[in-house]
């Protein structure tokens, strides 16, 4: 049985009487400890799938199941599934110190030993413990994203949803953050569902990938198929060719 099962998912936004069908009939399966990628251009609905899992987007059809159970957004869900957002400049509260940001989930769930846990979380993501009482504006983009990752891991979830976790960062910092994520996944046996518009990032991180376009699933590829350029559809091929030079490196 797969850990994440999404069947025929549709998401429809209505704004001022106009309907936007962001996701139409997408199905996917993610196994335990697998790293699954969603790739596509802007507006292809890949981020919306993550938001739908978190209850941040209106599901209009289909079903999402985590570990065989129908999705319920309660505290138990928070301890199983956490998310890292795209923009580290927008995902940390500007008036909270890192200490506050990281200990908040512990306070919500009544978990003790906040001091040691915050220190260990900073250490795990490679930040010095002297940063503990800094504010987000005193950090660089890469450091902020490390904090966001540390926050997502505070509740020790088994599933981490990653919404373009590196697209707002410089190339050199991107690699560091991706390596950090890969290391944490190996250490903690996490399951990743990762969104990116960059096939090179997906290739580096994911076992399987679903190519999306205009809210629909186009093609699912394994890493071997991706590396061997054995895709069936023209759209997946054009996407592959756009980033082929970096894939080989």
């Amino acid at each position: 049985m797969s850990l994440i099962e999404i069947d025929d998912l549709s998401v429809t936004f209505t704004a001022q009487g106009r309907e936007v069908r962001a996701v139409q009939g997408v199905s996917l399966r993610v196994d335990v400890r697998e790293s699954f990628g969603l790739v596509g251009e802007s507006g292809s609905g890949k981020s919306t799938i993550l938001r739908a899992i978190c209850g941040l987007a209106p599901v209009s059809g289909g079903s999402i199941r985590i570990g065989g159970e129908v999705l319920r957004h309660d505290r138990a869900f928070a301890r199983r599934v956490q998310m890292v957002f795209q923009d580290p400049y927008a995902s940390l509260h500007p008036r909270h110190t890192l200490d506050r940001t990281l200990s908040e989930p512990l306070a919500i769930h009544g978990i003790g030993g906040a001091d040691q846990r915050v220190m260990r979380a900073l250490e795990d993501v490679g930040l010095p413990s002297s940063f503990r009482f800094r504010y987000p504006h005193q950090l660089s983009g890469g450091q902020r994203q490390r904090v966001a990752i540390a926050r997502a891991l505070m509740l020790e979830p088994e599933i981490l949803l990653l919404d373009e976790p590196t697209s707002a960062l410089d190339a050199s910092v991107q690699a560091e953050v991706l390596n950090l994520l890969a290391r944490l996944r190996a250490e903690r046996g996490l399951t990743f569902l990762m969104v990116s518009h960059d096939l090179a990032v997906i290739d580096h991180m994911c076992d399987r990938v679903l190519v999306m376009q205009h809210g629909r699933a186009v093609e699912e590829l394994t890493r071997a198929e991706l590396a061997g350029a054995r895709m069936q559809t023209d759209y997946a091929r054009s996407l592959f060719e756009a980033s082929a030079d970096r894939l080989m490196g």
Binding site: A90, P94, R95, E104, R134, M154, L155
Partner: protein, 301 residues
Amino acid sequence: MTTLTQWLRDPNPTSRRQAKLGQLWLGWLRLKRNPLAMAGLVIIGLLLVIAAFAPVLATHDPIAQNLQNRLQPPLTPGHWLGTDDFGRDIWSRIVYGSRITLYIIALVAVTAPLIGLMVGTVAGYFGGWVDAVLMRLTDIFLAFPRLILALALVAVLGPGIENAVLAIALTAWPPYARVARAETLTVRNSDYIAAVRLQGAGAGRIIWGHIVPMCLPSVIIRVTLDMAGVILIAAGLGFLGLGAQPPLSEWGLMISAGRKYLFEQWWVATMPGLAIFIVSLGFNLLGDGLRDVLDPRSAAK
């Protein structure tokens, strides 16, 4: 001194308190660059000092009458601001009156923004019918001129300082609710709110711990800018005999008493009027300066 500033400017604070004080220190440095705001701060500081040391600074008993000495002009020996129609020393009355003014300001500044913040953030966060009900209620309060509504409330509750404060607080909260709701709408869909909701936080925790801190700067600015208005309304209620009652030396009440002599003995009404003017100016200047310090949008330059 240098060790203290070093401790405050430490980029790696070692405790929550140090981090918070460090931020306050940076705000203070920004405020210090603004001479007008500093002038406002000095005026309010003076008001606090005068109120605290009123018995020392006052030359006479503020309610002791001396009818042989009534309506003395300013610079009379012993009464440098003159005396009023009962022969009471105006300077002493203004000094003691500062306590009443501060008392009213403090009570209003604590209650009205709190009500406004709660109504505004709850309306903005939940949206839908909660928003509709709360904001229409706010509109109803806003539809009446503030002084008229305060007058009506005091007329119902009965004259007195406490009732005046209550009336002012009840008429002052709607603008804060508006400001807080507008700020809430800009932050409620941000990623950091989504993140904490994803961690299982309840509405109370999100509103109080995450949304209110974002609304506070604009509300604080509003409060300092509104303080002048609060002083004027308190004085107005006193003037109409609905606020502080004689023989208390409330400034508005003093102006009201001096009205009868305005053309011949101008100082009786003018001196407390000047006091109101200076204190209102002080709050306005400080409010303008605080806007530059607290508002992240204007601090960007």
